[in-house]
Symmetry: C2
Amino acid sequence: VAHIIIVGNEKGGAGKSTVSMHVATALSRSGYRVGALDLDLRQKTMGRYLENRLAFCLREGFDLPTPEYRELPDIDPKDLAEGENIYDRRLSMAVSSLEESCDFILIDCPGSHTRLSQVAHSLADTLITPMNDSFIDFDLLARVDPETNKILGPSVYAEMVWSARQLRATAGLKPIDWVVLRNRLGAQNMHNKKKIGDAMEDLSKRIGFRVSPGFSERVIFRELFPRGLTLLDLKEIGVKNALNISNVAARQELRDLMKTLDLPGVEL
Amino acid sequence: VAHIIIVGNEKGGAGKSTVSMHVATALSRSGYRVGALDLDLRQKTMGRYLENRLAFCLREGFDLPTPEYRELPDIDPKDLAEGENIYDRRLSMAVSSLEESCDFILIDCPGSHTRLSQVAHSLADTLITPMNDSFIDFDLLARVDPETNKILGPSVYAEMVWSARQLRATAGLKPIDWVVLRNRLGAQNMHNKKKIGDAMEDLSKRIGFRVSPGFSERVIFRELFPRGLTLLDLKEIGVKNALNISNVAARQELRDLMKTLDLPGVEL
Ligand SMILES: Nc1ncnc2c1ncn2[C@@H]1O[C@H](COP(=O)(O)OP(=O)(O)OP(=O)(O)O)[C@@H](O)[C@H]1O
Ligand SMILES: Nc1ncnc2c1ncn2[C@@H]1O[C@H](COP(=O)(O)OP(=O)(O)OP(=O)(O)O)[C@@H](O)[C@H]1O
Ligand SMILES: [Mg+2]
Ligand SMILES: [Mg+2]
């Protein structure tokens, strides 16, 4: 049965859709069968990213490995069981339509608190939480003492993950492997990096997540969306500068993330 | 009557709360009476930022100029008029409680599409829309042709602003002064900057907004949240390095934004 990867963080702009697209495409490029769902029904950043990819391949005559994107099916409310939530049904139908044919299902969550996102977190075999290296982003994971930066207690998002974990434990499912990824790391700012790093270390022991080596701030993550490309595709499509220093370093960061995820059966 | 400044963008992580905090505090520091509302009722980034500021001043014995933050009042649903939306009432009560005593009311919106955010946009005298310098963020303003980067048409957020403008026109109110701010600009990446810049120029003429000089990517925007400080406060509280090169440049960027906003009666 497919291994389910959820990419979530209630904080907006942490890098969920960017990470989703890169992890899903990296798995496709390694030959795995990958399904993709986008639970941000209005923005559909990952959905549009994958649509742009298919349009680019059609237009330019490329055949790039591409995750299989599905919209959530429309359901007639009359078909729901008594008291069943329509979003729960739409999500479970989308997941089961991919489960047989895929090795992995990657689900991108919106940057807010929705029922779809909550239910998706309870389906997670692996949960990836990207966050900006900032105390504004950190505030949604945990409250810190402003003087000592010591953790005072978990915040709304950490509590939501906690209750997803409890749901799984009650249902006798495997625990969620929770990986937090520091994103948009600056080249300098050693002082802030250390403060955030220490707080992350402290928090990871208290609420149980693993910290992945991060992604640096790179323009390559901001310019490829219109063509649906990721940094791993550049060599294949023959882009000039595909392997400049920054892109080589970015590929290494993505490879490090894939190694940290330690997905079942994946050899990179 | 108070001038209402809305900071909005459906895209998560564009910099709304960061810009809200800096604009509101800059006005307070210039002696204006400023009210602040946070419509992201769960994350409350600006609300928490201002709470941290008050706690810091109390703890350290400072008296920093601080916008007056209000929570939306709780309403008994029985008190609503027939068919009235409870959020509309909560927002209009919060605004009118500040209108008499303030020169400016600054309202921070969530990074998603909510009723509160929609109504707030129709109250805007000035609308500030921060965005990351990225085609992922740009996609919520407009669709672009992947080959030519020409604008194909407005996206969901631009359409929402458009309908807020029409509501105001029908009600005989002043048009919204819409200012888009490029945020987290990198030091290099001239190629991507030019592509985004050209697309912004093209779009600003089609849908009618002004483009403000941007904010660069700076660690100062990520580290001061626990103490509720902004870069304008550093000199007053006697922080070492308050006026290093990056902070002096950041102060200039904030001043340029304030000039671009051209708020009634504000001389900087
Ligand atoms: N490592 C990076 N370097 C540079 N820019 C990045 C990086 N990661 C993400 N970005 C940019 O940051 C912005 C936010 O990223 P993204 O949209 O993936 O976040 P998100 O968490 O999915 O946001 P939302 O909450 O709206 O769903 C985008 O403009 C993206 O291009
Ligand atoms: N110019 C900047 N330089 C560096 N970091 C920045 C800058 N502007 C914002 N940030 C950081 O980017 C992240 C997103 O900013 P912020 O939370 O203000 O955005 P937002 O639009 O309010 O997000 P949301 O959609 O969650 O409400 C935060 O971690 C913040 O510290
Ligand atoms: Mg997203
Ligand atoms: Mg915000």
